[in-house]
Structures are given as structure tokens and as C-alpha cells.
């Protein structure tokens, strides 16, 4: 069947083509379309019956002349050729080179949809990754094999934060980063893509990076393929070549919007805000490809960037993502406007795997309690700040004023840090104690009495 060209397209609209009278086409099979100008587009079969086959065309259906379109069904799923040579390369969303170099030749071609990992084969992520960013390391630690998205909004420095993590991430005891990076951009601007490219270049890791770019002005449907192609490459690097892979994907919102666009064309029943009911399952297929596997050396750690429409964390995209990912780093406009970088809003931020990757055997024995105390003290301090805004700071008690000073120092010195500042976890924890010492020991009930004696710097009540 793959050598026959059919010219039976009966309708085309918004990236979908219906082919009539092609019996026995495999669901999910890859399709090649040749238009009247001889340009070749690719697509996927998304519904197959003997009388009509529905094809999703990645490059879109613009300027497609139904009578002069020739379609071949390739009879296999969408596959990505893989070899060690992909490192240092730049591909488009469908895995074709966009760096002017020849395509990757390999007998090893993998279905980009992957296969679900058997939960019994997973190894639980426990190795602490030091990002050098206090707000993350101290309070929302990342572990190897985790998926920890950055929830952000338009105009916030999520790209800079992601790039800083890529530059600084390492395991404790390691000197330099020994990660390879898979970078996927979908719906991102050219400027964003260039920013990352330059950042990789500057830190000299370009030959350890694989990029998959589908930019804002490029075909929307291809976006559905981009993360899958990138993750197929990541799985190969991690589980065949034993690399520790850091996957950075931006922007998941653009992906979900592309999914909605196609769903509407397909006539799927919408669930919330027009997004299809399978948005959750679809996002899960992507996010759940992060992780570790028993008896394999490599790992996939995932940092997706997601811009929350109108900064709304309850919007379906961040909401469903939050239910799948293992926490989230939330960036906030308020902190950013105050000039704090990175503007990590720590209270709604969370790392679910933190509890198992920190403490005595991993970072330092006081880490869990310190993190919990910072959260509690800062939450309390924000209440006081809210109060001060109403009744005026003059009316506050001494204790409250100290709490307020703590909040200010915490935001400026603990959360805030330089874009090139790489703090070790010890520096982060010591800084935490320095700030907690601004509060009386009695107010610190989340840390043990021994820890108070050891680390609290005087500060009597």
C-alpha cells in the first residue's frame, strides 16, 4: 500500500483532510501528501473506515488543491531515526533537520508515541539535583527523574530561570553538570528560541543539546508531534545511551491550544473552556515519559514551562498539569515587579518528591525541618503583612514587626539571587538559618530543639 498514491481527497479544512475510498488503512499510520506544486507534507491517520479516512496534516491544509493532491499511506506510525549523532543537532517539530545539515541516518527508528512504562519497572526518583537556586533547592527540591514544571505568565522570566537551571543543575558531589539536554519549543517566539540557543552556546553545552523547534509562526498541528519527537529522543539518550537527560519544553500552553484547535475541527465534544475531555490523558502521555527505570543508569528529568493564561492557576492547562506533574515552581508577577529574580512564589510552589530526596543521607539532616519552617514562617509573615497594609505598620507589635522584617529579608536575600549565582545547598541552608534567626526560637516550632541549639544564631525572644 505504501507505494500507491491516492488522489481521492474529498474535503480539507483547518489541517484535516478526508480521503474517500481507501480501504484497510491502519489507524495512526503516517501519511505523505504531495500537492500540486510538488511540495511534500506529512500527516497522521486519526480515524479510519473503509469509506473515509481522516488525516491530520502537520503542515496544514493551506493551498491544498483537492483534485491535485496525491496521498500515500506509509503504513507505519510516525518514527524518529535515532543515533548518538542527534546530540548537537536542531530539528523541526516533526524531527527533520533545520540546521542545514543532512538528516540523521539510522536503522533505529522509534515510534514517537512511545509505549507506557510499566509502573512496576519504574525506579523512584531519590537523587537530589542541586540547581543552585535557593527557592528551589531549599524549599522545592528537584530530584533526578522528576517532572517539575515552571508555572509562569507572560512577561515573567521563566526562560531565564529554565536556562539557569540547565546551566547549574548537578548532583551533589559532582563538579560540573553531566546532563545532556533535550530542548523542545512549540509555539515559542524566535526570540525565545534564540535566547536558549545563545544560553547553551555561552555555557558551552551546545554539543550536548538536541533541539526540536516548532516556532510561533510554524504549523500548529506539528506542535502535537514536537514534544513526542523530543521525548522519543530523550528516552533513547536516557535508556539506551545511559545519559541523564534534562528535558526543557516550552510552552505547554501552546501545545494544549493546538490540541484544542484540532479537537474542534474533529468535532470532539468540548469539556472545559473548549478543551477536549482527553486533554488530561494527552498531557499525561507527555509528562509521564519522565522518570527512571530499574536497572538502567540514565534518567529523564523534565522541566516544562507553562504560561498560565491571565496568571490563572485554575485554568485547565495549569490545573490538569498540576495533577500530573510532581509539583510546580510558580513564578509571580508581584515579586517580579519588586525586582526579585527569580520571582518564585514559594507558597503555591511544591515539589512532591522533595521529601524522599533530602535530609540526612541526601542533603543535610536539618533540611526537611528548615524547609517546613520557612514555609510556615513566611506564610505567617504574609498574614502580618496583610494586616500591616490595613492598620499600618506603626500599630504592629514588636514581634509582628520582626516577622515583617523577616519576610522582606527572605524575599530579597533568600528568594532573590543573581542570574549567575550558583548557591550550594549548604549555602542555601545556612542562609535560611541566618534569616530564621531573625525570629525568636519560640516561634520556630517546625524545627527540633536540637536543631535550634545547633543552628539558631542567638536571637532571644
Amino acid at each position: 500500500m505504501k507505494n500507491i498514491e491516492f488522489r481521492t481527497a474529498s474535503s480539507a479544512q483547518g489541517g484535516l483532510v478526508v480521503m474517500a475510498g481507501v480501504p484497510g488503512v491502519a489507524a495512526g499510520s503516517r501519511v505523505q501528501l504531495r500537492d500540486h506544486a510538488g511540495r511534500v507534507r506529512s500527516g497522521l491517520v486519526i480515524r479510519s473506515a473503509d469509506d473515509a479516512v481522516l488525516v491530520e496534516v502537520f503542515e496544514g491544509t493551506d493551498e491544498l488543491d483537492l483534485e491535485r493532491t496525491w496521498v500515500r499511506f506509509l503504513d507505519e506510525p510516525f518514527k524518529l531515526p535515532l543515533s548518538r549523532d542527534i546530540l548537537g543537532r536542531v530539528f523541526n517539530g516533526a524531527g527533520l533537520p533545520r540546521d542545514g545539515r543532512p538528516p540523521v541516518i539510522s536503522a533505529d527508528r522509534r515510534d514517537v508515541n512511545g509505549e507506557p512504562l510499566n509502573p512496576a519497572a519504574r525506579a523512584y526518583p531519590r537523587e537530589f539535583i542541586q540547581t543552585g537556586i535557593s527557592a528551589i533547592d531549599g524549599m522545592n527540591s528537584l530530584t533526578r527523574g522528576q517532572k517539575l514544571p515552571i508555572f509562569s505568565g507572560g512577561g515573567l522570566p521563566h526562560n531565564r530561570v529554565a536556562a539557569q537551571i540547565v546551566r547549574q543543575a548537578k548532583l551533589l558531589g559532582e563538579e560540573a553538570a553531566e546532563f545532556v539536554v533535550v530542548f523542545a519549543a512549540f509555539g515559542a517566539s524566535h526570540a525565545d528560541a534564540r535566547f536558549f540557543q545563545e544560553s547553551f552556546e555561552e555555557s558551552g553545552v551546545l554539543n550536548k543539546v538536541v533541539m526540536f523547534l516548532n516556532l510561533a509562526d510554524e504549523p500548529v498541528i506539528e506542535r502535537l508531534l514536537t514534544p513526542r519527537a523530543a521525548l522519543t529522543a530523550a528516552e533513547y539518550l536516557a535508556f539506551d545511551l545511559d545519559y541523564h537527560v534534562l528535558v526543557v519544553m516550552t510552552d505547554m500552553t501552546a501545545y494544549a491550544e493546538a490540541l484544542r484547535e484540532v479537537a474542534v475541527l474533529r468535532g470532539d465534544v468540548p469539556a472545559r473552556k473548549g478543551y477536549p475531555g482527553y486533554l488530561y490523558s494527552d498531557l499525561a502521555e507527555i509528562y509521564e515519559r519522565a522518570g527512571r527505570i530499574k536497572n538502567r543508569r540514565g534518567s529523564i528529568t523534565m522541566i516544562p514551562v507553562l504560561s498560565m493564561p491571565s496568571d490563572d492557576i485554575t485554568h485547565p492547562i495549569p490545573d490538569l498539569s498540576g495533577y500530573i506533574t510532581e509539583g510546580q515552581i510558580v513564578l509571580g508577577r508581584e515579586l517580579s515587579n519588586q525586582g526579585v529574580y527569580p520571582p518564585v512564589t514559594v507558597l503555591p510552589s511544591l515539589s512532591r518528591l522533595m521529601k524522599d530526596g533530602i535530609g540526612k543521607h541526601f542533603t543535610r539532616e536539618d533540611h526537611p525541618h528548615v524547609a517546613s519552617q520557612l514555609f510556615a514562617s513566611y506564610a505567617k509573615a504574609l498574614e502580618v503583612r496583610g494586616l500591616a497594609a490595613i492598620i499600618g505598620a506603626e500599630e504592629l507589635s514588636d514581634a509582628d514587626r520582626r516577622t515583617l522584617a523577616f519576610a522582606d529579608a527572605f524575599e530579597c536575600r533568600f528568594i532573590g539571587q543573581g542570574e549567575d549565582e550558583d548557591r550550594s545547598i549548604h549555602e542555601t541552608l545556612n542562609l535560611a538559618w541566618e534569616l530564621l534567626s531573625m525570629l525568636p526560637p519560640d516561634a520556630l516550632t517546625r524545627v527540633s530543639e536540637e536543631e535550634l541549639a545547633k543552628y539558631h544564631k542567638g536571637g532571644e525572644a
Binding site: 509505549e115 510499566n118 509502573p119 519504574r122 523512584y124 509521564e288
Partner: protein
């Protein structure tokens, strides 16, 4: 033999005459499995439990003649199954780290022999009815597996095997049915998951399920055989709380269904359970635990089935006379799977895209919980705890609101509490329990007669503090009277010293009912002592500075449940801590009245 007409996502249209709805089918060259969900003349609509990529119109389809069923027998405990009861450990041995399609592995191991001890009451020639115990197999140290007669069997027992080792495929007996048919009895039988297993009658639930979590047991109790829901936005600690319950509750069997949730969470359970000890029996927790895992990246149709697989397994152990807890994380994913399939069928959506039958399906599912008298005359129970993941944390969405009408205990998780790292983030104002009066009888009998009044006092204090907090937020704490400030402080003490409980602190993770009550009584004692002083005119400021308050906040993690005596000693010493202040304010010849 039929054939495939159309493939649309997980749905396939088949030419398959004479099939019935619910029948299992096998399609295509790879032999993918699914079930029929609709029929129109000679065409049938089916949903597949596996990814449909690569299937083509024209490939074969066959009906298997039975509905989705599970295998029930020895080998269940400690296992991890997918949403249609495929054993994931055996699958891994067969097909590697990833779940390949079309792999058929029996749910229970066929090569393993079990030591069967026949029940002396069963004699050849005697009558045999469904649910009767044929004998036992000691499956793990702590659990004796009772081999049950399949529920629908009724007849004369022709023979029963003597004590010895048997595999599942071997016959352990024969029964002659009323119609003269002779049926083989084995160590296991099958049961269709969408049909509740029969029992003699429903019983009243009487004993509380002790989870070791103070906010649950002391404030919003659940009974063995009851139904509870845990709704909460993401990050509110739903999974953590459910894992705590699965770890510490005093049920005999725990079934944990991961329905559309994270793979790593299941891995965590799998890796940690064998190391943790059951606080009640001292045996590894895995010996009483069974996992059903259909993670979010596994096919959506099997996700819908996984909840039914879990509850059927729970009923099976209930029928052996055990108290079973089933934790379903999360019922929202199950509802979404329902919605996804309904959407593909083009069914008219009602609220948020959910089909109109959402409420009735949920209700029917929760009704499978309960304490019953089994067919064999034993008593067993299934306690059902369902997590709900409301989009955006909005409790008015369809799944949460329908669930709220069905369940009796509602453990509402709050994003605000979780953000302040108050765990478990169970909101004491939003939560409720319809089982308080039944639980009170148990607590009065087994722990302390004052449980109900102490609980009420603490809840009143918490409610009062909520009012006061609103005032403080408006005008500052200085506007409160001493009495009000002390109320606020005492409520804070209860929140931090009692309600907050650390899952990762070894001592604090589990609290026995005795410890729970001791802590509650202690903190209330501090409150009352302080209130007495405030009424005598002592300013709340001085009370708040007492070191006792900071100390009391740490008691929960200083004394384990085995160390109640030391805790009680501290309680006894509470009045002494107030003595100096009492001397100071009670000393004047005319007692001062508190200014309010």
C-alpha cells in the same frame, strides 16, 4: 467471526452479530482486548483497553463470550495489577519495562502450588452453596485466604481434595449442580466486575476505622463499611493522605487503586510498603496490600475499568470475612474516562461535558461499600475512600457535588492550608462526618467516656477562632479582649499541636486512639487553665509567653503511641505550670473579674 469497520481513538466499530453489551472481544492480528458498549443491528461499538494504533478496517474481531471478569484466589496479596487485572510484575518479566500490546498473562500465577487445608465441615455428599468456605490457604503470614465456593453454585459436594499442595489449575473438588451438571472446583474463580458480589444482608457499621491520623479519627471519623471522599485541588496532599491511610489504617486488607494518577506514586507505594510494618500486626504492610495501577499514561478505557476491578477484589475479601479498605485515587479520573468515552460516542453532555448518567454511576459504585453478613454467615466490610480531584479546586463541579451527596464522611482538603504547609490540609470547617454518634460509642467504650464532649469543645474553639481571625484581619490583634486573644492562641495550639501531623516524622506519622485523645485532652486542659486565669484578670499576653505553649506543640512528635505514660505525666504537670500566675492573680483578697 466479525471484522473491524472503523477505528476512532479507543473506539472501534465492528461487524459482530449476536454479541451482547459488556462482552469481551479480541480484535486484530495483535489480539487487542476490549468490551462491547453498544449495538446497532449487526454492527457493534466496542472500546479497547489498549492503544488502537496500527489496527485496520477489515481485520478480524471475535466475541469471547464473557464480560470483563477478575480472577479471585490465592496470589492476589502483594500483587500489582493494571486496570484490567493484568499482573504488572509478570508482564514486566514477559515484555520488558514497557507495556506491550496484546500481551495476555493470567492474573494469578499458574505455576505456584498453594497449601490447601480443607474445611472439616465440608463433607462429600453434603450440600454446597455459593460463598461457602471450602478450606483455607495461608497466603501470607498475616492473611489466611479462605477458598470460597463461587457465589452462584448450588448443589451437592461430590468430593473435596485432602490437605495438600495444589496449583490454581488443579481441581480441588467437584460439585453436582441442581441440573445434574458436574462442575470442577478450583482454588480460584472468576467474577464479572460490574456486578456486585452477593451477600446475605447488610449490617450496621459499628466500629470506626482507625487511620492514626488525628484530624480524621478524632474529628471526622469513618466507620468500617463506610464511604468517604477526599476532595482537594492539586498539591493539597490528597495522595499523601491516602497513602497514610493505606499504611496505617486498622483494616485487614487494603486495596489501593491508582486510577489515572502518577506512575511514580505507585512506585513509591511499591517500594515503601514492603519496608513498612503494619502497626497492628507487626507484619510488612505489603502482605495485606494489593495494588491496582492504571496510571495516567495508560489507556483510558482500562482506567474506567480499574475502579470496578478494585471494588470486586475488595468484595471478594469481604466475603471471606475481612475488613477491607479500598482507596480509589482518583474517582475524578474515572469520571473523566467516562466522559471521554461518552464524548466519542457523541452522547449529549450535561454539566462540564459529563454524561447525564454520571451521578447514578457514582452512586452505584459507592453503594458497593458496606458491612455485610456474608453468604457463609461471617461478617465483613468494604470501606470505600475515594479521592476527588476537582478542577481548579472548585467543589461545586459535578464529580465533587455528586459525590458529596452520596458519601457520609467528607475530608475536604484546602489549598490555603497546604500552601501554609499545614498537613494534612483537612479543612476543619468544610469537612463533615455522618458517623460521629456511632463512633462516639466506640470511643467512650474503648478510650475515654469524654471523647464526644472533648471533640465538640475543640471544634467550637476552632470555629470561634475563625470568627476572631476575621476581626484580626480587619483591625489587628490589639482590638481583641484578653479572653478572645487566649481563644485564638488556644485554637492555634490545637491546630499546630494536634491537627498538624507529619507523615514523614517517624513518631508523629501514626497516632493511636489513646495518644490522640491524650493530646486532645492535654491541649484542652491548657486552654481551660489559661481561660481560668484570663477570667481572673491575667492578660493573655503573659499566658502566650509561657514556654509551655511552645513545648506542647512538640509533644506529638516526642511521644510515640507506645509512650502514653510519659505524655500523661506531662498532662498532669500542666496545672503546675500555671501555678505561679495563678498565685499572682488569685492572691488578692477580692478576686478580680475578667474584663471582657
Amino acid at each position: 467471526m466479525g471484522k473491524i469497520l472503523e477505528i476512532n481513538g479507543p473506539l472501534v466499530k465492528l461487524e459482530l452479530p449476536q454479541t451482547v453489551i459488556g462482552e469481551q472481544i479480541r480484535v486484530g492480528r495483535q489480539g487487542l482486548v476490549g468490551e462491547v458498549i453498544g449495538r446497532d443491528g449487526d454492527t457493534a461499538l466496542a472500546q479497547l483497553y489498549e492503544d488502537t494504533a496500527g489496527l485496520r478496517p477489515g481485520e478480524t474481531a471475535e466475541g469471547l463470550g464473557w464480560p470483563l471478569s477478575v480472577e479471585l484466589g490465592p496470589g492476589l496479596l502483594g500483587a500489582i495489577f493494571d486496570g484490567v487485572q493484568r499482573p504488572l510484575l509478570a508482564m514486566r518479566a514477559r515484555s520488558g519495562d514497557r507495556i506491550a500490546r496484546g500481551v495476555a498473562v493470567p492474573a494469578l500465577p499458574r505455576d505456584k502450588a498453594w497449601h490447601f487445608v480443607p474445611d472439616p465441615a465440608r463433607q462429600a455428599g453434603g450440600s454446597l452453596a455459593g460463598g461457602d468456605v471450602l478450606g483455607t490457604v495461608q497466603e501470607t503470614e498475616s492473611i489466611r485466604h479462605r477458598i470460597l465456593t463461587p457465589p452462584l453454585i448450588q448443589g451437592e459436594l461430590l468430593e473435596l481434595a485432602p490437605e495438600g499442595d495444589y496449583t490454581l489449575d488443579e481441581a480441588i473438588g467437584r460439585v453436582k449442580l441442581a441440573d445434574g451438571h458436574i462442575e470442577k472446583l478450583q482454588l480460584f474463580h472468576r467474577w464479572p466486575v460490574r456486578t456486585p458480589r452477593p451477600f446475605r444482608q447488610r449490617d450496621h457499621a459499628v466500629a470506626p476505622l482507625i487511620t492514626g491520623q488525628r484530624i480524621l479519627d478524632t474529628f471526622y471519623p469513618l466507620l468500617k463499611g463506610g464511604k468517604a471522599a477526599i476532595p482537594g485541588p492539586f498539591g493539597a496532599g490528597k495522595t499523601m493522605l491516602q497513602q497514610q491511610i493505606a499504611r496505617w489504617c486498622n483494616a485487614e486488607i487494603v486495596i489501593y487503586v491508582g486510577c489515572g494518577e502518577r506512575g511514580n506514586e505507585l512506585t513509591d507505594v511499591l517500594e515503601s510498603m514492603p519496608e513498612l510494618k503494619d502497626p497492628h500486626s507487626g507484619r510488612p504492610l505489603m502482605e495485606r496490600t494489593l495494588l491496582v495501577a492504571n496510571t495516567s499514561n495508560m489507556p483510558v478505557v482500562a482506567r474506567e475499568a480499574s475502579i470496578y476491578v478494585g471494588i470486586t477484589l475488595a468484595e471478594y475479601f469481604r466475603d471471606q470475612g475481612y475488613d477491607v479498605v479500598m482507596v480509589a485515587d482518583s474517582t475524578s479520573r474515572w469520571a473523566e474516562a467516562l466522559r471521554e468515552v461518552a464524548g466519542r460516542l457523541g452522547q449529549m453532555p450535561v454539566e462540564e461535558g459529563y454524561p447525564a448518567y454520571l451521578g447514578s454511576r457514582l452512586a452505584a459504585f459507592y453503594e458497593r461499600a458496606g458491612r455485610v453478613e456474608t453468604l457463609a454467615g461471617d461478617h465483613g466490610s468494604v470501606t470505600l475512600i475515594g479521592a476527588v480531584s476537582p478542577p481548579g479546586g472548585d467543589f461545586s463541579e459535578p464529580v465533587t457535588s455528586h459525590t458529596k451527596e452520596i458519601i457520609q464522611t467528607f475530608w475536604a482538603l484546602s489549598k490555603e492550608l497546604a500552601d501554609a504547609r499545614h498537613y494534612p490540609a483537612v479543612d476543619w470547617l468544610e469537612s463533615f462526618s455522618g458517623y460521629v454518634s456511632s463512633a462516639a460509642k466506640w470511643w467512650a467504650q474503648h478510650v475515654d467516656p469524654n471523647w464526644e464532649s472533648a471533640r465538640a469543645e475543640a471544634l467550637d474553639l476552632l470555629a470561634a477562632s475563625e470568627e476572631l481571625q476575621r476581626i484580626v484581619n480587619l483591625v489587628g490583634v490589639e482590638a481583641l479582649s484578653s479572653e478572645q486573644r487566649w481563644t485564638l492562641e488556644a485554637a492555634g495550639l490545637i491546630k499546630e499541636g494536634l491537627l498538624q501531623q507529619s507523615a514523614i516524622d517517624e513518631v508523629d506519622s501514626f497516632a493511636s486512639p489513646e495518644k490522640q485523645f491524650a493530646l486532645l485532652a492535654a491541649l484542652l486542659e491548657i486552654y481551660r487553665q489559661g481561660m481560668k486565669l484570663v477570667k481572673l484578670g491575667a492578660p493573655a499576653r503573659r499566658l502566650i509567653q509561657m514556654p509551655l505553649l511552645a513545648q506542647a506543640r512538640r509533644w506529638k512528635s516526642q511521644h510515640s503511641s507506645d509512650d502514653i505514660a510519659a505524655l500523661k505525666a506531662k498532662i498532669a504537670a500542666i496545672p503546675a505550670a500555671f501555678e505561679p500566675l495563678l498565685q499572682e492573680y488569685a492572691a488578692p483578697s477580692t478576686p478580680r473579674e475578667a474584663s471582657s
